[in-house]
Amino acid sequence: MVEKTIIITRFDPDRDEKPRKQEYTVPCEDSWKVLDAVNFIKDEIDATVSHRWSCRMAVCGSCGMMVNGEPKLTCKTALSDYDDRVDIEPLANFPIVRDLVVELDGFMHKFESVKPWIIRAKEQAEDKASLHPEKDTFGQSTEELGNFKQFSMCINCMLCYSACPVVANEPDFLGPAAIALGHRYNLDSRDEGAEERHDIFRGEGTVFSCSYANECSEVCPKNVDPAAAINQAKFGTVIDWAKGLVLPRGGTK
């Protein structure tokens, strides 16, 4: 057990003009994650501290915060990695709703705009009432699965958005997780929507805005490697764009 000073960014739109910092002295167990310290403050010291969390097992993606300036999944980050002063702030590059809670809707909008679902000209299973587990599922080899598996591991924790210098400056940029998600479907052997998504990728907030800072992949707690996805998507987008020049596509969906 050691005492640490935990500094938390406080912002209450009803009271505060702008965010301020507040310090708490917390007796920390050795095994604690950063999240445990915040929870301790909330439960035992100051119940007005607001933050999001749920699964405490690094899979729901709600507990992302800046810890000493770096975006971290706080339920996965050991408190013992830090000295006796730990600065906890809301995720960078997001509007701050309150304390450690940031605005998610901008992210959700980008997320939704890449059409993250299987797009098919014709559905695999014609008759939903009598689906057969073998006949009506798609065959997919382990290799085909492997093509996109990594990009499907994103927990939407948005750490990558906090790390990306382009996100900080270009409000239109779709950003790492959203592009990785669109690309995940493009690579899925069951999907036929790559052309459609490549058109989206070329629109506002284009994939080409990414300057391959690679910070997104450095901070990603799930090794999704969104930087890889985005830069692969650039290739795909260029190829589809070039194809479009040669044989103009009539009436895309």
């Binding site: 400056n169 070329r202 300057s211 260029v238």
Partner: protein
């Protein structure tokens, strides 16, 4: 401005990517010899006397491919695009996104003019 940039972004990105890849590969030897070894006297200047330099620059492969001029063109044109694109993103990273349409166009404009000059120079050999 921005809308126009969006339209041509794929070409720019292609040029830029090749600027990093091919540009870097060609520049290394070029800078080493032309910029350092010869001026510092470590390689005799006669290696790039006008005759030899001009000969190399206008050499043909199999009599049909102007390989010297092609390489020179790549060496001069591609880095311009890598330069323009990277300077643009540098400026955005320092908070210039608002002016990106104008600044970006300007940078690419310079690169385009440079490319034309480079090609004229190479063709004029």
């Amino acid at each position: 401005m921005r809308a126009l940039l969006l339209k041509i972004e794929p070409i720019i990105w292609l040029l830029f990517g090749q600027g990093i890849l091919i540009g870097t590969m060609l520049l290394t030897g070029w800078v080493l010899v032309v910029g350092l070894l010869i001026p510092m006297g470590m390689v005799d200047a006669s290696a790039l006397s006008w005759d030899r330099a001009h000969g190399l620059a206008t050499s043909w492969l199999f009599g049909v491919i102007p390989v010297g001029q092609l390489l020179l063109a790549a060496l001069l044109v591609l880095p311009l695009w890598k330069g323009a694109h990277h300077v643009r993103s540098l400026l955005i990273d320092f908070g210039g996104a608002e002016r990106d349409g104008a600044v970006g166009s300007l940078l690419y404009g310079v690169a385009a003019v440079g490319s034309v000059l480079a090609i004229l120079a190479v063709v004029g050999l």
